[in-house]
Amino acid sequence: MIENARSLNIAASVILLAGMLYILGPLYLTLATASQSYEFLLRNGLAWYPGDQFFNNAARIFTETRIPIQMLNSLAVAFSLAIATCILSFLSAYAIVYFRIRWAGVAFALILATIMLPVDIRVITTYQVASNVFSPVNALLYVTGLNGLIAKAFGAPVQLELSVLNTHFGLIAPLVAHGTGTFLFRQFFLTLPKDLFKAARMDGAGPVRFMFDILLPLSRTSFAALFVLTFLSGWTQYLWPLVASSTPDMQTAVVGLARLLPDSDGEVPDFPMIMAGAVIVSLVPLLMIALLQRYLVQGLVLSEK
């Protein structure tokens, strides 16, 4: 429905403006505060106009905090997450769409269910597993009674231990298991002509060859879109890195930013420096979107070229 009433236009504009203020206001506050000195903050509170101290504050982020190394962590986590998610999603969608698997429907439903179960919901159990990746195996051995037999035969039950907490792998792995990518690729594959696979078989290409020669080149834009989305979500993850990493050198930049707030009460936080840090940490995803936004749109509308 398209309405042309003038009063409606004005009302819509007002709502839009309010929304923009709501989003841009805090952003402006961040930038303004980041460019003021700590002394200014102590005297006046949060800044409503910009100052000239931004590069000072930014330099202090690099010299006085662990943010630089934490940004490297973030980069490693976001990159690995994006790449691992792309590969896993592509392969699982390929299997679901192109092969006659008996339980394909059930498998796809389970994969979709992970979209409704983000890390934030399953954080406690995920933590338990991350603290000992063999805990499900141990539990299975106990429940099935196998461990009783093993204890009788060898004198002691099996109890495997391997913690991935506070490692990069531990930061990444639980986030990879997410169905959005599989869904994205599945939808894309379904838009391709059904006979493509058969044509490739007639041409002598097996499933692997078909995947590399035909499916992969066609999926370029979907890959780019998924890569950007996952990279962003990996970069901005807060809860899981907070829980899974215990030393500052293993934490990600977003967690590191939060940790810049002083632990003791009464002390005024160095907001100009923290805000400068926030600006610096935001630059990477901003750059990412700026460079790849074309693919982001193309990939999400699911059309070739």
Partner: protein, 368 residues
Amino acid sequence: MNAIDTAIRAAAASITVKDLTKAYDPQTVVIPPMDVELKAGEFTVVLGPSGCGKSTLLQMIAGLERVSSGKILIGTREVQDLEPKHRGCAMVFQNYALYPHMTVFENMAYSLKVSGTPKAERAERVAAVARMLGLADYLHRKPGQLSGGQRQRVAIGRAIVREPAVLLFDEPLSNLDAQLRHDMRVELADLHRRIGATTVFVTHDQVEAMTLADRILILNKGRIEQFDTPKAIYHNPASVFVAKFIGAPPMNILPVTGDGAALRLADGQVVANASLTGTYQLGIRPEDIVVDGKANGHAVRAALRFREDLGSHSVLAADLGGSIVRIATPFGSDIADRLELDLNFPTSRLHLFDAATGRAIPGAFGAQ
């Protein structure tokens, strides 16, 4: 004739199908046991309504569907358990199934690349096929930049560049508009005359079947209704199904009863003399009905319902004893505006079918 023509002619092999069946489960039998032999170099059209199993048959020959039981021989080689690439078949798909990200050249050369043909030979063979199909100027375009007919030609080129023993077409013309379909039909017939590949062409369009085929294989619910030349199928249909499927408008089928001396319509009018008793189905083609003629002395009276002028001729629909008969007559005849018609069914043009099985009864009116 250049090198690729001779190579394909030499590679052409016969297809023999023995006791072939296909069933997805015991309840859904797509193809009951089938035996058929397609000769080397022959253009066979597999014709049938949708769901008759014609595509399944084609895909089993190609190796894209597993056979439930039975054998498929290409030449003298049993192929039913081989991978598609080892069967020597090439296929043209309904929606072309070209690789969208590859150029025309890459599309046609892909099978050669997969089979490890040296680069120079690949280029040479693709160039020869492209010349033959008039695609030489388009080799560097992508399929998205081509028209429907050009894409179709690329798909054909991709199939014949491998010099296959058997060329399979899965309703390749159904995506084209009427004019282009006609042009492609002519092109395909011409191509087959030049390269002489064993061709199996699946379609539900009887015009394609009549114009392209050396022999037509008519399928109904997976069973072979008739396998013969287009001419034989048109003039001597083996069953009511074939009679109704071939020809536009289709053959008229009327229920008749024989009293030992004559065949009578449902309303008692005598349509022909015959020493038959019992109920039958009588078939006559619309163009064989004579209006106001005295061909066998038995004129039957029918009420004209409507007429369609097609320019070259008119099609009349008339009510004859409760069933509608269609009559094709030359345009401009004065019979069109009359309400009552006297129709004559020349005995030599009549086809008689068994009422229960629908199979033709040859020789019912003497020599056919």
